[in-house]
């Protein structure tokens, strides 16, 4: 295992918080240090504390005519965002080749202050392939190897801040029951384990093992805190928790728990500013609620969300929440006003947030939406099945087709700066 006791001092100095030098002394048991707080699920048979009303939550209530505790969001039937100019690559657009050679694939995973972390899949067509992680500078093209994952393990990096990234290590097949989550300082190489999956969950029947990552969490990070959801085995059965890891304190707390994860659902937690948001429902086919939890006060605001929300995330400052509705529409909610903007349709699915931008995984078209200006922009040439906001960048992929076949030597990701 790659747990280390070394410190991660100064790791996110360039981020939203400053981390003291004494981040070390962490242990693999850190994830058991739970500070239980109030439960958040409406009418939950679990550790339920009734939901707070909107007015008590410290958040602005929605306009009248809606349920005071569970205001229903009104979803526009068509795109209401301003559509900005389409974008395209130019001769000077930084690019990253999709294939380094015939059997090595590349993928831009995560932006950090020093550049982009690129996943390099060596021998990707073989059973003995493996992954390298490389820091790449889009401006200069310079790169350096950060680390190499063990054989038949992959590292997913969905969150980070400053020089810190949150790495979720899994195997190669859904539902990824044996996962491990660590903080890694890419400047120093130091690493700290913060959570891991419980393989005993495999004995549990009736859990809803869903895409996109099954048991493995997809953490987010803001203000020196990491948020994620994970299953656990409770006294009466499988539970699901929303966890918060405080980087400076080196401790984990639990802000929400489902007492029976076989019945109730909770998914897609994210953190932005001092807020954590997630979806929950009492069961399949039941009303879906968006829960917005204030970390400072523990108070919450809930919205009932029509449709079939699949994946959602808070903006970096926690003022907005964007989600993908059943792969068919993309919405952004301004939490203060309750106003919902539809910014895309079925161009893709899922959501990726960076600061005040959000994008999706493209299937029919790539683009990004700016929460602040309420403007969406689309690529002129689709998205090549891979596109995302990454820090100050947005990238998309373009294929080169020659005589009806892909020229893999020329397929590339192109990067434009969102805020030069």
């Amino acid at each position: 295992m790659y747990f280390t006791r070394a410190t991660l001092g100064g790791a996110i100095a360039a981020g939203a918080v400053t981390v003291a030098a004494a981040l070390g002394a962490c242990s693999a048991g850190d994830h058991h240090q739970e500070t239980e707080r109030e439960s958040v699920l409406p009418n939950s048979a679990a550790t339920a504390t009734p939901s707070s009303a909107a007015g008590e939550a410290g958040l602005e209530p929605l306009p009248g005519g809606q349920h005071p505790e569970f205001p229903a969001l009104v979803l526009p039937g068509e795109v209401t965002a301003r559509v900005g100019d389409p974008f395209a690559k130019t001769d000077g657009t930084p690019r990253l080749l999709n294939f380094l050679d015939a059997d090595t694939g590349q993928y831009p995973m995560r932006a950090v202050e020093r550049g982009i972390i690129v996943q390099r899949h060596r021998r990707y067509q073989s059973d003995d392939g493996y992954f390298e992680y490389v820091l790449w500078d889009p401006s200069s093209g310079a790169e350096r190897l950060l680390w190499t994952a063990p054989p038949r393990k992959q590292d997913m990096i969905s969150a980070g801040e400053g020089d810190l990234v949150v790495v979720v290590r899994t195997g190669m097949s859904m539902p990824f029951p044996e996962w491990a989550m660590s903080l890694r300082n890419i400047a120093t190489g130091e690493e700290r384990m913060i959570a891991m999956g419980d393989p005993d969950l495999l004995r549990t029947r009736g859990l809803r093992i869903t895409l996109p990552l099954g048991f493995a969490p997809m953490p987010s990070m803001s203000g020196g805190k990491v948020a994620w959801a994970e299953f656990g085995l409770g006294a009466s059965g499988p539970e699901k928790h929303v966890r918060i890891y405080d980087v400076e304190m080196g401790s984990t707390s639990t802000i929400a728990t489902l007492s029976d994860a076989r019945e109730e659902l909770l998914w897609s937690p994210s953190i932005g500013g001092d807020r954590v948001a997630w979806f929950t429902a009492k069961g399949m086919g039941e009303t879906v609620y968006l829960v917005v939890h204030e970390l400072g006060t523990g108070k919450e605001l809930r919205f009932s969300v029509p449709g079939a929300p699949f994946d959602g995330k808070l903006s970096g400052d926690g003022r907005y929440f964007a989600w993908d509705d059943g792969f068919t529409a993309k919405y952004a909610l301004e939490l203060a006003s309750g106003e919902v903007t539809r910014f895309a349709n079925d161009e893709g699915d899922q959501t990726e947030v960076s600061g005040h931008y959000v994008s999706w995984h493209p299937k029919r078209g790539a683009g990004f939406y700016d929460f602040e200006s309420r403007t969406v922009r689309f690529s002129e040439r689709g998205g090549g099945g891979a596109a995302s906001v990454l820090g100050k960048w947005f990238y998309w992929r373009e294929f080169v087709i020659v005589n009806g076949e892909e020229d893999k030597t020329r397929t590339a990701y192109y990067f434009i700066e969102l805020e030069p």
């Binding site: 990707y124 073989s126 059973d127 990096i157 097949s173 399949m284 689709g382 998205g383």
Partner: protein, 379 residues
């Protein structure tokens, strides 16, 4: 997804069902030796003792002959779909396939072609095998194929249902269950099979193959209800428990054992394959579907291939799922995938993707997921 209707193609189907004597020929070539020096790992053929990636043995002459004959059938279907083929070509291709394939006539698959032949020739399905060659020819001459030619090879919605994987690493058992249920798991139950058919609820509440609780609970400590996927994960069938996943090689073995038909399913290795292999596998898939056999595929969805809807673009997934159809529109081909991941609340299990490159590509074709992993198990 548009509805797909099988039209015409009756004469060749009659041949395939064993209504001609050519199929009595037997192959004499020996199969290649098994790759005994390969160590089977969790999901694939694994490594040789020297650490080199294993490759499964090449198909023997008999299996190669079946593959080539299936390609001819598939290519004839493609030609008819594109308006350039003829029924005679299809019949000829089917005749060649019947010669190399040694199936007993009237195999109990839900064979749509058999039903159409029966209707066209005005003979019960059960009596088809008793027709003489001359009777077949005579009745075929009188039969009037429906206009429009072959449309597509697609197992009709309403007869095929992907089973959501129950837990853990069960994409293999779920894939096998989806196929076996479609083929009629109860009809194929042998002395070595445990399962009668009971009602249960996988995708959208359709029935599943559910075994008797008391037996299965004893045999499978992880099983509290005796799900069929647990049974299929047993060493007798797919060996999924022991290996922590379903290895390449076990799917074919398990499907053929369960159906007690040693040659129902065969393997086509696609790992590392290029355009030539892609273009030969496609008609084999269409042929398998046309005969009523959904195919199992062992794929790798990743940034170096593509990720279907709902899968995370950042992740690499090694996976089993079902191919239940395909069609051609000009030079663009589409493949139908029955997905065993996810949940019906948010994800429709019937998915359609490009098989070949299209003029304005937004995603890579599905072949990229096959060429970067293992292959297809088909009829």
């Amino acid at each position: 997804m548009r509805p797909f209707v099988i039209r015409a193609a009756l004469p060749y189907a009659a041949v395939v069902l064993g209504l001609v004597s050519a199929q009595t020929q037997s192959a004499t070539a020996e199969a290649p030796p098994p790759a005994e020096d390969c160590i089977v790992t969790q999901y694939g053929p694994g490594l040789t003792p020297t650490g080199e990636p294993c490759r499964p043995p090449l198909p023997g002459p008999e299996e190669q002959a079946i593959a080539e004959a299936s390609q001819r059938v598939g290519n004839a279907i493609i030609a008819m779909e594109n308006g350039t083929g003829s029924q005679a070509q299809l019949t000829e291709a089917a005749l060649a396939l019947a010669k190399v394939r040694k199936e007993a006539p009237g195999v109990p698959v839900p064979n749509r072609i058999a039903a159409e032949i029966s209707a066209s020739l005005r003979v019960p399905v059960t009596a088809l095998a008793q027709l003489t060659d001359n009777e077949v020819k005579s009745r075929l001459a009188d039969a009037q194929p429906e206009p429009g030619g072959v449309s597509a090879q697609w197992i009709p919605p309403g007869t095929f249902y992907p089973f959501e994987q129950r837990t853990s690493f069960y994409c293999g058992p779920a894939t096998a269950e989806s196929i076996l249920y479609y083929l009629g798991g109860g009809a194929f139950r042998t002395a070595r099979s445990y399962d009668p058919i009971f009602a249960a609820a996988p995708w959208y509440g359709y029935p599943t193959l559910l075994g008797p609780n008391e037996t299965n609970t004893q045999l499978y400590p992880y099983s509290y209800l005796g799900w069929d996927q647990d049974i299929l994960a047993d060493p007798t069938w797919l060996n999924t428990y022991a290996m922590g996943g379903t290895s390449w090689g076990k799917m074919k073995e398990g499907l053929n054992k369960w159906t007690n038909q040693g040659t129902f399913y065969r393997e086509v290795w696609t790992g590392g394959g290029g355009q030539t292999l892609r273009d030969s596998v496609w008609p084999e898939i269409l042929s398998s579907i046309a005969y009523g056999f959904p195919a199992a595929e062992n794929v790798k969805y990743s940034p170096s291939s593509y990720t279907p809807t709902g899968f995370n673009t950042s992740a690499t997934y090694e996976h089993w799922d079902v191919i239940y159809g395909g069609r051609n529109e000009g030079w663009i081909a589409y493949i139908g995938i029955g997905q065993v991941y996810g949940e019906p609340y948010r994800m429709y299990p019937f998915q359609e993707y490009y098989w070949s490159w299209q003029p304005d590509p937004q995603v890579r074709p599905h072949w990229s997921a096959l060429s970067s992993h293992h292959g297809v198990v088909l009829h």
